[in-house]
């Protein structure tokens, strides 16, 4: 190895570092360290002139290793590695000392800061002299994409990608695509009918030559790595032959057995053989074995008798098959908050307390009342209370704001006004109408005549204490603007329930190696600068599985995820970091501890040689194996024992 000639660049970061650290002294100190041929300080090392400075030193002074003492490597390691590459050096002959986050930002000002910065630079100098060149690796990309979830986000992402003539598979566990949006009546703030804008989308997806929809199916296993995922899919038996069924739905008509309709949020019944809603895609029914008399008691078979196409097949079994894809977009959506977990709001006890989802179905022409807003006894309500933040913004349930409830609450006001003469009371804590056209919508609905009461509802009760309360539901709330406790008697209460992570978010997270944020939703790589990527390369997230959002935001995020996948497809291959682990086979005892620990399934056991081997393409360089190996047979490149020891010695020097 050639003699190290180290260049050290101490960054001022404006006043972020130079305000409290004597950068000049740090640079002077660096010059005294072994192998250092030049040490400079510069206001913004990451700027173009700053980068040029380094390049010039590499060319003119023969610098062959570089230390930059500045910010976090997460911010600019790639920037400076690029500088080395452009100047003809291997980018791994570089070391960063984070004297901003780990020094100047961290402590009270004082001379110790400069002292600490010197030690950190010393450590980096010590370590960089031990670095060896590492080579980046290129891996080809499989051009197909898997989209998990066929709601509005999943469909949007699928269309964006498929329109570039690349294959997309949509896996949807329900019998139809469409998701929650298919259940909505109108959409805020434009009040266009959800079905009118969604149904054409669903048709477009179903007819697209580059999209294959796999409904009633779930991902059961995933292996491989970015660009080369192998996906195992389980297709639940529909008991209806998709090739034969013509979608006449006579079976649904004739079936004598019923269950609560999931699509109508439990407000009505559906048959045991059913399509969830009239515009379902595909328009092929499924038999719900849990409610079908044939599966329960081995009789009936009415559907079979009436099916002219002979499409009913009680013998159908589940199908397991594999797909190969390069990218995965997770768009699994949300579940709604269980309103009965706040017993004082009376949901489940009083028939005229509805959740927002139930009310959506009540308003819909395809819903249980054909769009008539009526009470449990069929009367039209004369007064309605709309309760905001049910299960949201509440430490006892979900701390976050669900972001859509203020707006759908306003929408409900309009729909109620349109269809009844009822007086409307909105019980809110804060009105959050922040999207495009939302404040204007708030304005419009206010003008239609709605009573806004600022306060969180304490209780909904049917215990009347005054004549005008008899037969009503009474909503107890402090009007915090008046400073008065109110009892508001109404006929109907609508609870605007929180959007929550899917009940099985944990299993899905484990399956796809996703992180979850404190609120339980899937964790994005960066909340501002990278909201669609995850910590797993090649796995992207979109829509409400990442956090509550409205339709415009879901669609935007889905398009962003699609763009990210398309960029990778267009590149055809990806470079993966050169940092991997390697096993010294002469030292390996074959204990296989590393096999079990590897989170990327990159280590396999060679049965003949009786040693473990690392797949260098799959290895992500996390280092778990190296730390765990009892024989010390595994070297974690770039983090070798020698390098780390040298770094520690530098700190202690």
């Amino acid at each position: 190895m050639e003699e190290p000639r180290i260049g050290v660049y101490v960054c001022h970061c404006g006043t972020n570092i130079a305000g409290t650290v004597d950068v000049e002294e740090v640079a002077k100190y660096a010059e005294t360290l072994p192998h250092v041929v030049v040490a400079r300080h510069y206001p913004y090392t990451c700027s173009d002139p700053g980068q040029e400075l380094i390049k010039k030193d590499i060319k003119e002074l023969g610098v062959n290793r570089v230390v930059v003492a500045s910010c976090s490597p997460r911010l600019h390691e790639k920037t400076f590695q690029g500088v080395l590459r452009e100047a003809g050096l291997n980018p791994y002959l570089f070391q960063m000392a984070n004297i901003r986050e780990q020094c100047s930002w961290l402590h009270e000002p004082g001379p110790e800061l400069t002292e600490k910065a010197k030690r950190m630079v010393g450590a980096a100098v010590n370590r960089v002299s031990r670095h060896v060149p590492l080579e980046m690796r290129a891996v080809p990309i499989f051009p197909a994409t898997l989209v998990v979830g066929g709601g509005i986000a999943g469909m949007q992402a699928a269309l964006e990608i498929a329109n570039s003539n690349h294959m997309v598979y949509i896996v949807e566990r329900e019998p139809s695509i469409g998701g929650h949006m298919a259940q909505f009546d109108k959409t805020f703030p434009t009040l266009d009918c959800a079905a009118c804008i969604l149904t054409p989308r669903m048709t477009e997806v179903s007819r697209h030559p580059f999209i294959r929809i796999l409904t009633y199916s779930e991902v059961v296993a995933i292996s491989g790595y970015v660009g080369n995922f192998k996906i195992k899919i389980r297709r639940k038996p529909r008991y209806v032959d998709e090739g034969k069924c013509i979608g006449c739905l006579v079976c649904q008509e004739k079936c004598p057995w019923t269950a609560l309709s999931e699509f109508n949020a439990g407000t009505s019944k559906r048959k045991a053989i059913y399509t969830p809603f009239p515009q379902a895609v595909p328009n092929i029914p499924v038999i719900d074995a849990e409610h079908c008399a044939y599966f329960l008691k081995e009789k009936c078979r009415a559907c079979e008798k009436f099916c002219d196409a002979n499409a009913i097949n009680f013998e159908q079994s589940e199908l397991i098959f594999e797909l190969e894809v390069g990218n995965i977009i997770i768009a699994t959506g949300f579940d709604t908050f269980d309103a009965s977990s706040i017993p004082q709001y009376g949901y489940g006890r009083y028939p005229n307390v509805f959740t927002s989802m139930e009310f959506e179905r009540l308003c819909s022409p395809t819903g249980p009342t054909e769009g008539h807003i009526i009470l449990a006894d069929g009367r039209q309500p004369e007064s309605v209370a709309i309760v905001h933040c049910v299960g949201s913004r509440d430490k006892n349930y979900n701390e976050y704001c669900s972001r859509v409830c203020c707006m759908h609450a306003l929408k409900y006001s309009h729909l109620i006004k349109e269809k009844t003469n009822a007086a409307i009371y909105q019980m809110y804590i804060d009105m959050r109408c922040f999207g495009k056209g939302y404040e204007e919508f708030y304005n419009r609905i206010s003008n239609e005549g709605v009573n806004f009461i600022r306060g969180k509802v304490a209780k909904v009760t049917d215990e009347a204490i005054a004549e005008e309360e008899k037969g009503k539901l009474i909503v107890l709330v402090e009007d915090t603007l008046l400073g008065t406790m109110l009892r508001v008697p109404v006929d109907m209460v609508i609870l605007c329930i929180a959007l929550e992570p899917r009940k099985d978010a944990n299993e899905v997270a484990r399956l796809f190696h996703l992180g979850r944020s404190a609120d339980g939703f899937f964790l994005e790589r960066h909340p501002k600068l990278d909201p669609v990527a995850t910590m797993s390369e090649g796995i992207l997230i979109a829509g409400c599985c990442q956090g509550p959002k409205d339709i415009p935001d879901s669609v935007a995020q889905a398009s962003a995820a699609a763009a990210r996948a398309l960029a990778m497809i267009a590149r055809g291959k990806i470079e993966v970091p050169a940092i991997t682990a390697a096993i010294d086979e002469t030292e390996c005892s074959g204990c296989r501890i590393c096999n079990l620990l590897c989170p990327y399934d990159a280590i396999f056991f060679d049965d003949e040689a009786k040693v473990s081997r690392i797949n260098q393409v799959m290895c992500q360089g996390c280092g778990v194996c190296a730390a765990a190996c009892p024989s010390g047979a595994i070297t974690h490149n770039y983090f070798t024992v020698e390098e780390i020891t040298a770094e520690i010695e530098g700190v202690l020097a």
């Binding site: 933040c389 913004r393 006892n396 804590i429 304490a458 402090e478 400073g483 406790m485």
Partner: protein, 382 residues
């Protein structure tokens, strides 16, 4: 228009005295909606929180002394604000800084507690007189259990029955227990909530030293207020003994088969959860288990029971202050019990006992509605 001139010292005292979570309050008003005072009069908890946030509190207002510290609001506050701590801090500001007026009734009780160690102003040497004829030994090192009945059953002639019933049960079961010398003082729970922090500190130190020097390991208490402070507040001051409420102790004796209840009580009994046993310490099941073990007894529930249980009105020092007729929570409870067809209201707290007894008497219901501590019922059924 008012000029906002925050009383900075007041805000500091509030924040220092545990009002820190106050900053989180987002003024939704849920506390007001839940507060039982609004069943009988207006009491805007939320507004007090806001005034406290701004340091614009009217320290002369009677609102400072209204909160019964029942914890109904804290239990459901969406931001987890320790509203009771804020109320206590406001009271502390008045009591220690003299920037307002401590209500007369409370001042007298505070003076008694500070002077003779009990709110009733009785002589300390009479503390154990209730047990004179019951042959209860004095606690000595090695005695298994210390029984600490609370000042009210120790001195109040009408409430002594709680302590006497408990001792009777213990005697019959030959439990190794004793009473501590008359140097014992009020536990201090309520006077602390009423803002008299210094008094509390000296009471607690006295009791901790007394218990420690006598080698006390386990204390059985009749009052949920003693229970609360012994269990949750004394350990911060160095106490190390275990605390058990009588209902918990009786339930465990029943479970172990040591306590067998054979005499029938053929009555409908309704149990009222004490706030400091229930919401403050999540003890809901043991009192019910004990009642259900009494043969013939039919246990019924209030419309708002357990977590939703209505306070008797006696917490936070309110037990020493007069609440006008028409605003007494225990009156509402007695009406509910009558409506439910109960014969007996069963209790597990001396403060509840005082309030319910007064309600039954003042409402003219004493003939048809009995008020009994669970210990009394057990003593009858044994």
């Amino acid at each position: 228009m008012d000029v906002l001139s925050p009383y900075k010292e007041a805000t500091d005292v509030i924040l220092e005295a545990g009002g820190e979570p106050l900053k989180l309050c987002y003024q939704c008003g849920l506390c007001t909606g839940i507060c039982p005072w609004n069943l009988v009069r207006s009491f805007l908890v939320r507004r007090i929180m806001h005034a406290a946030q701004l340091g614009a509190i009217d320290f002369g207002s009677e609102d400072i002394w209204t909160c019964v510290t029942c914890r109904a609001c804290v239990q459901r506050c969406p931001r987890g604000v320790e509203i009771i701590d804020v109320m206590r801090a406001l009271r502390r500001a008045v009591a220690s800084m003299g920037i307002g007026v401590v209500p007369d009734a409370l001042r007298i009780s505070a003076k008694n507690i500070a002077g003779v160690g009990n709110p009733l102003g009785e002589a300390p040497e009479k503390r154990n007189d209730w047990a004179k004829d019951l042959k209860v030994k004095n606690f000595a090192s090695g005695t298994e259990i210390l029984y600490f009945p609370c000042c009210v059953p120790s001195y109040d002639p009408d409430v002594k029955t709680i302590a006497r019933s408990t001792a009777t049960i213990f005697n019959k079961l030959k439990i190794d227990y004793g009473l501590i010398g008359t140097e014992a003082k009020c536990c201090g729970e309520s006077i602390r909530k009423a803002g008299h922090e210094d008094t509390f500190q000296s009471l607690a130190q006295n009791n901790i030293n007394l218990f420690t020097s006598n080698g006390v390991k386990t204390v059985v208490v009749s009052s949920p207020h003693c229970y609360h402070t012994f269990k949750n507040e004394y350990p911060e001051l160095g106490s190390k003994f275990e605390v058990i409420h009588t209902t918990q102790y009786l339930a465990s004796l029943i479970e172990q088969g040591k306590l067998k209840l054979s005499k029938e009580i053929n009555k409908k009994v309704i149990y009222s959860d004490p706030c400091y046993l229930g919401r403050h310490n999540s003890v809901y099941d043991e009192p019910r288990k004990v009642l259900q073990s009494i043969p013939g007894l039919e246990l019924i529930e209030f419309p708002d029971a357990r977590e939703e249980g209505l306070c008797c009105g006696g917490g936070g020092g309110r037990i020493w202050m007069d609440t006008p007729k028409g605003e007494r929570f225990s009156d509402i409870r007695v009406e509910q019990a009558v409506a439910k067809g109960a014969d007996i209201i069963a209790l597990a707290c001396p403060y509840c006992f005082l309030n319910y007894r007064d309600s039954v008497l003042s409402m003219g219901k004493a003939e048809t509605m009995q008020v009994k501590d669970i210990a009394e019922l057990v003593a009858e059924a044994i």
